[in-house]
Symmetry: C2
Subunit: 321 residues, 2 copies
């Protein structure tokens, strides 16, 4: 369930564009207006606003946001204003650019590959090629080392069918294959990669359930017993993103907040990428998992327009009418 709140009557893209233009004019930018407009429009509406802005003022809305705003608020609202496929292509590029990539970077790729719709993933790969003149897979091979490459290439190249079809026989037999790989401590076995990269998520959830039933532990627990390496950590993110993406994103928000300082990039990513998908569910999961309110925790760690924008995407406050 999305957390994004749309007004009952959505203004035309021209009305929205004029309102945004006005917010940029005068002494200082009226950030509240930017939040009221952009923070209450879905991806298609934001796309139309961007196109109208370009047409009316011969200027890119993103460039204007870039030059008029600053800090975390700017980063968050720009991330939100990109087309979702372009946004995720850029997030993937940023993650791959980091020299010493850990699980924090690589999980961005897993999220795009396992917690998005198959058509969205295809659109991200297309956007990546257009933006960077190189495929996402080529960049993974060039910048990630084995045994992670194999799994990541498989994941980002997947096109799972998205109907709710489950075969119990397959679930049982593939749970056995996963277990065998775990027993042999061979987590990058071809069968593990194929199962995780080609089966639809409903089938995989059944396979994970079967695994628990057959062996008394979850696949996730057994992966952890295999070792603490990056491959085990990455596989755990895969399982989380497939089993219950809202739990994964609740964890991303939590991890970005706890400890000293805030990891704004992760916080932005979780809230911006899920506001139109399952951020309401993530809020429930957050409360269950951490006995704390996601809204309160965001309030505690952020301030000003940035805080208001994140809370808007979390579905707090008015509908933007």
């Amino acid at each position: 369930m999305a957390s994004l709140k749309l007004p009952e009557i959505v203004p035309s893209p021209t009305q929205d564009t004029e309102r945004l233009r006005k917010a940029f004019q005068g002494l200082g930018t009226n950030e509240k207006e930017l939040i009221l407009v952009l923070g209450h429009r879905n991806a298609q509406q934001r796309k139309e606003i961007k196109e109208t802005y370009q047409k009316l003022y011969n200027e890119s809305l993103i460039d204007h946001l870039q030059s008029e705003l600053s800090g975390d608020f700017r980063n968050a609202i720009i991330l939100w204003t990109y087309d979702p496929s372009e946004r995720d292509a850029k997030l993937a590029k940023e993650a791959l650019k980091v020299k010493r990539k850990g699980i924090k970077q690589l999980q961005v790729l897993v999220e795009i590959a396992c917690a998005s719709s198959p058509n969205h993933l295809m659109a991200v790969r297309q956007a990546y090629c257009s933006l960077f003149d190189c495929s996402l897979e080529e960049d993974i091979i060039a910048s990630v080392s084995q045994p992670l490459t194999k799994l990541l290439i498989g994941l980002v190249s997947s096109y799972r069918h998205d109907k709710v079809t489950v075969n119990l026989e397959v679930a049982k037999s593939e749970a056995e294959k996963l277990h065998e790989a775990v027993n042999n401590k061979k987590l990058d076995d071809d069968h593990v990669v194929w199962i995780l990269c080609t089966r639809n998520v409903f089938q995989l959830r059944e396979t994970f359930a079967c695994y628990k039933q057959l062996y008394g532990h979850t696949f996730e627990e057994d992966i952890q017993n295999c070792g603490k390496g990056d491959l085990a950590s990455l596989l755990n993110v895969v399982v989380w993103c497939i089993e219950c993406p809202e739990r994964h994103f609740a964890k991303v928000v939590r991890d970005s907040i706890v400890g000293i300082g805030t990891d704004e990039d992760s916080l932005n990513r979780a809230i911006v990428t899920r506001a139109e998908i399952d951020l309401s569910k993530a809020r429930f999961e957050y409360a269950n998992m951490y006995k704390s309110s996601i809204d309160d925790d965001v309030i505690g760690d952020t301030s000003g327009d940035y805080r208001e924008f994140l809370l808007t995407l979390l579905g707090k406050g008015p509908k933007g009418d």
Copy 2:
């Protein structure tokens, strides 16, 4: 270069549809009219004709062709009338259904993966899921055995960027990796699969050229020295489809014709799938390679409406005005 000939002024989909309807009426079908209309329309035009037919007569054009026609002519014209992505998804499914799959079946998958545009390949994967409630990759895993699976999964999951960008350093270093794999007789090495499945075709052509320059033989020749197994044969099809698809399809036509009898399925596939892409080039390659005319050879092995339809797609005769 496409061989398909379009009329100077293309009639409206309604005019075409009415002409087709008339061709079905009366005593027997007027096959000449079907060829004159459908054999001179591109994929978009055929799509509009199909939609208009369905709208005007509440009947599927494909079903009508199916019930009114017979034999090889029917098979060829129906294959031509499908949407290209749906057609290739069906061709892949048919190839995978064969129990004892040899190179003849598996090369169909390589053609779709390596001799199509990246966007077409994505569309085929989408069509496959819609038509068969299962992904192409799942069917490959279920029905193809190792070491072919790994290469085929990589190929059909690829999304190569399609700009003409070539890096000479990369070509040299990857030619070395290919050579190392050949030397170790390890043709299913991860690096071989990644190189062939992620690089754009222009880069790969440079890599193959570099290989020849560095080692005095082509990669293709060295693959054959590795053994005569299915993997070597499949890799050769990959190299052909990437280096010069028109040569590959000239060979498919030739193989379908030489010997006793004709392999109409392969002949149809080569002519129908390439008529809008590079069948004119394939005709030149055919003449070069076999010192014979593709048109004459098709005439020699086919007859009646079937022959006329294939020759129409080969670009012989009038433009269909």
